[in-house]
Symmetry: C2
Subunit: 199 residues, 2 copies
């Protein structure tokens, strides 16, 4: 990947978290902290929730469109979670990084693992909810899932916790302000990291 001379190539920050651990809020806070951070918009075959907008929360596409994008190699990773497909369009990330912009990508554990295995340069952070009880409370508070969906999410969250060793960093989202400060620190620190010139 090349970049304009004298300008640093942007970094890709991969943030994973069990659903309900506050990932969306954290990412919004990070973007308020540094407005130059670009959020990668994923593609999904699931339907939009109330208030979600095409191109903002997700690119909402049909399964056949999703399959076509995947076939032409336009997705950095793709994964199936609870019957729906999710994928990361490569083009937007590459364009932002070439302009020297750092990119935030919120994806599940399967997706993060695929990116790591592909060798794509990324800094990965696992957002850990303070505990299963707190996670259940947050999911119930959100009120967008049925009890069965909440049970499935919690089971998934427990499995995902085992993946922490695959990540570069772990941030426990116990108090929101602390978690935001830790994420900001990780981004600042990674900007100071000595890297081979080709990354």
């Amino acid at each position: 990947m090349s970049s304009a001379p004298g300008r640093r190539t942007g970094l890709l920050f991969v943030l994973s978290a069990p659903s309900g651990s506050g990932k969306t809020t954290l990412m919004a806070r990070l973007q308020r902290w540094d407005r130059r951070l670009v959020r990668s918009v994923s593609m999904t075959t699931r339907g939009p929730r109330s208030g979600e907008r095409h191109g903002r929360e997700y690119w909402f596409v049909t399964p056949s469109r999703f399959a076509a994008e995947r076939r032409r190699g336009a997705l950095l990773e793709h994964a199936q979670v609870l019957q729906h497909w999710y994928g990361t369009p490569r083009g937007g990330i590459e364009a932002a990084r070439r302009r020297g912009r750092d990119v935030l990508l919120g994806i599940d554990v399967q997706g993060a693992r695929q990116i790591k295995r592909s060798g794509y340069p990324a800094v990965s952070v696992f957002i850990q909810p303070p505990g299963v009880l707190a996670l259940r409370r947050r999911l119930q508070g959100r009120g967008t899932e049925t009890p069965a969906q909440i049970r499935a999410r919690l089971a998934l969250a427990r499995r995902e916790l085992r993946c922490v060793p695959e990540y570069d960093y772990v941030v426990v989202n116990d108090r929101l302000d602390d978690a935001v400060a830790q994420l900001e620190a990780i981004i600042m620190a990674e900007r100071c990291r000595v890297r081979p010139a080709w990354l």
Copy 2:
């Protein structure tokens, strides 16, 4: 290295900088920011400068005492810089880390390289002065070196700059507050880093 159960083993942060790049000020600022940070006090055979105190800036020892400490393996690293010996007593660092305290160690490039090669777990940061002109101004402002000593320091600084790729992080000390914020971010981020259990 073992630690009390449930308590995180402390980290060792190695900070190197050409003389006059503000390392001493930066370390003092970091200790004010987090009073639990322990500063490793090095051992040296050079004489104390005005205002320096035995056990605070350095342990000032005779060449024969230094050689004895080195022989009994009590030094984590040792190096000769401009005719004087400098070394890092291992005992204080290990004790602090076992108590869960993070340690700051300001040493030259030779010392940092020795620690890296020894395999001792450390996070290394190179503090880069904004430029040779600024470095000269700072050394002259300090007024503790002769013109010949300043020339030798500048030549050393130029050689040391080539060592940046050996470090984990580089912080340019252009504006002091920015440099302090970056160092704080590196310390916070490293505390979130996922590590094998044995580190």
